[in-house]
Amino acid sequence: MSGMFIHNLQLGIFSLRRNPLLTALMIMSIGFGVAASMVTFAVFRVVSGDPIPQKSSQLFVPQIDNRGPQYNRNGEPPGALNYTDALALMRAHKADRQTLLYPVSMSVMPEEAHRMPFKAAGYATYGDFFTMFDVPFQYGSPWGAAEDASREAVVVISRDLNQKLFAGENSVGRRITLDDRQYRIAGVTDHWDPKPRFYDMFNGRAYAEPAQVYIPFTYAMDQQIETYGNNNCGSGGKRGDDRESWLRGECVWISPWVELDSASKVEAYRQFLNGYAEDQRRAGRFSWAPNNRLRDVHQWLDFQHAVPPESRISLSLSVGFLVICLVNTIGLLLAKFMRRAPEIGVRRALGASRADIYGQFLVEAAMVGVAGGVLGLLLTGLGMLGVGMVFEPQIARLAHLDLSLVALTLLVAIVATVLAAFYPTWRAAQVQPAWQLKSN
């Protein structure tokens, strides 16, 4: 068997070298087709991945329509909550876990006077945030419900910030100054930066730099720390003249998340949201039927168009591109194999079975596939350098040629070429020994 395989390999090499132009055309065709698909797939893989696979079906974003059919967009409630609704959800406490969050940007004041202050971005949120999103901790732990309730000045910082400020030592219990307020460090997170950042899609930070600080939402509200993100007042809402009226108004800026681990709880939460909207209608705040959504992570990412259109367009186009390259390869292989009809006739007459012919030509095709795959790999590597031209630098940084992509490139090239070779090989195997001998 292996002897036959080696014999086929030798036949293949001989045949491929006999027609260098045709062979080169096939290899280029496969190479370009595979490379185009792989480059765009590498980007697509980054932008369409599940950022939290273990929990993506248990985490939900409640949305409440506080605009009404006249002002909302395409009948959809806004992508965030106003302060009134956000607080109502937290008070009701109807989910296993729940949190609110909004982005903050604060100045870190290093203790040493000679070091320049710098900006650190992060979130004002509740202690449940860390448990809900499985945030890993290097030191310490999240703050608890007690700190949320007592509006305490605690902070969780990122591993990077801890490295910068405390040279990576355990800094739990120490104090840092953010803007002009002192915070006690409750914990240090390990590297954690889900992409896309599903929990902050409302602010378009899907691929932003990792968050560095997390502070209690309640303390941030107490201290009137402003949101660093979007504040959407809609075309019907009033922005308000001061902070108080803005808070009481209908501007949305808070992202809510709830954790619900069974279908019945999800249903119950939907009921609760509808009941809440119904209450608001009775109280005269809403003049429309409840229009709420409860989307899980996947549905939420879909709704927020986490996958940029560039990525989907280019992936679809390059798949089309690969198909054309394969059609092309089928044609070229057909030409190549059929040109050898006399040789096949002789081999068949000398006793080669159809299976032998299949073996010979599929091995030859696989060799073209391997060569195409290697060329494809080189072109993919080149293409990856160009990814930054089309996509945001944050996305381009994430797309890279790793081992799995190398394996996939070769695999796609070989499988595609062998598949493309089936029809030409079948035709070659149909060659009648007698007919060929006669005409020769």
Binding site: F32, R239, G240, G320, V327
Partner: protein, 410 residues
């Protein structure tokens, strides 16, 4: 005139090859049409004017660090004053955002305060009386702000200003009869009336994605200077001094006071850089599509060359017979050209349908515009020509097959 019938009969004997070439032409046409269309759309976006005089323009992002929001007003005034006095600087302003910056203020406008829904959306720029000169925006009617009209304001407390300048696009949208100057409008969904004191020729919004296309050139200039955590500076340099100013302004700002962060990325950008970064993905997409088209056409041409060469090789004897029976070299040449044309026509008919179908799919998926039939037509012509070009070399070879070939065994 050539006999088409014998060609069709011959093609029937090469069904697989014929279908493969036709299919390849069809798919290539579908993709190339749509790719060219995407390229054209992206190039159109890139070419959109902002209304600014973009040469000699510098932008700086400034964020205050450890300063109370209320105190930032005087710091900004000091900054702007210092920048204006620097050598090489023509003029400078502090502004909340600028065209193509990607992030700014958006609000509704209406002419009737009792109307429930805004008539249109508009960008808000908060500026002082130096804005028109710094940005290089042309005033086509009315007047500029006076320095005594400029007030400092907390961003949370912004109410529509008593005097505003609007773009011509917005003015015409609100007052189609062209009578906007001196009229009163209501910005911000408030009940505070704003009088239009000036109209500028054009000023684009800070966004460049498709969602803002319907109100791209709607802008309101309001005589406010915002307090708060950060601001943008726009600086017009004297001609030829942009590079020097790009270095001297950040230095001067840090010297004036260090309680600030000018981000290392996107903190200091000439307007050329702003523009190229804003349209980076559009330009990249156009280049990508262009490369895809070229490679695709090359591969299709190579495929045609390959299969036709095979056919020529296979039919040497038949060609020899025809030549022996009196067919000229021209006859043989035109036989292969016509054969290719017939396959090509079959391919482009299917391809045109595919191209339209693919576009319809893109329209539903990505809110793209409908493909103009002109692109399909151009693609059809291009692919037929490509086919003829690709087939030329093998066809020439075929035409040189000598009549004596008929007497040889295959």
């Amino acid at each position: 005139m050539l006999q088409i019938k014998p060609i069709l009969v011959a093609l029937k004997r090469h069904k697989a090859g014929t279908l493969l070439i036709a299919l390849q032409i069809a798919l290539t046409l579908a993709i190339v049409c749509n790719a060219l269309f995407i390229i054209q759309q992206r190039l159109d976006r890139i070419a959109r004017p902002t209304g600014l005089d973009e040469t000699n323009l510098l932008t700086i992002q400034n964020r205050w660090v450890g300063v109370d929001d209320e105190k930032t007003g005087s710091l900004v005034r000091a900054d702007v004053q210092a920048i204006r006095e620097l050598p090489g600087v023509e003029d400078a302003i502090s502004i909340n955002s600028y065209p193509l910056r990607g992030g700014g203020w958006l609000t509704g406008v209406r002419t009737n305060p009792d109307a429930k829904k805004s008539e249109t959306h508009t960008t808000q720029y908060f500026v002082d009386d130096h804005a028109l000169a710094t940005m290089g925006v042309k005033l086509v009617a009315g007047r500029n702000f006076r320095s005594d009209e400029i007030t400092e304001i907390d961003p949370k407390a912004v109410v529509s200003a008593p005097q505003i300048i609007v773009t011509k696009t917005l003015a015409d949208k609100l007052f189609p009869d062209g009578s906007a100057l001196g009229k009163v409008v209501y910005v911000d969904d408030g009940t505070q009336p704003s009088t239009i004191i000036g109209i500028v020729e054009r000023l684009g919004g800070p966004w460049n994605s498709t969602w803002s296309d319907t109100f791209l050139d709607n802008a309101v200039l309001e005589p406010y200077q915002l307090t708060g955590g950060g601001t943008s500076y726009m600086i017009r340099s004297k001609p030829g001094q942009l590079a020097a100013v790009t270095r001297s302004v950040p230095e001067a700002l840090y010297k004036l006071n260090r309680m600030r962060v000018i981000p290392s990325e996107r903190g200091v950008r000439t307007y050329d850089v702003v523009r190229s970064q804003a349209y980076k993905s559009d330009r990249g997409m156009a280049i990508l599509m262009g490369v895809v088209c070229l490679v695709l056409l090359g591969i299709t041409a190579a495929g045609i060359v390959g299969l036709t060469s095979f056919w020529v090789g296979q039919r040497r004897k038949q060609i020899g017979v025809r030549r022996a029976l009196g067919a000229t070299q021209r006859d043989i040449l035109s036989y292969f050209l016509t054969e290719n044309l017939l396959i090509g026509i079959g391919g482009v008919v299917v391809g045109a349908l595919l191209a339209i179908g693919m576009n319809l799919w893109l329209v539903t998926q990505f809110e793209m515009a409908r493909l103009s039939l002109l692109y399909v037509l151009a693609g059809v012509v291009a692919l037929l020509l490509l086919g003829q070009g690709a087939v030329l070399a093998p066809a020439m070879r075929a035409s040189r097959v000598p009549p004596v070939e008929a007497t040889r065994s295959v």
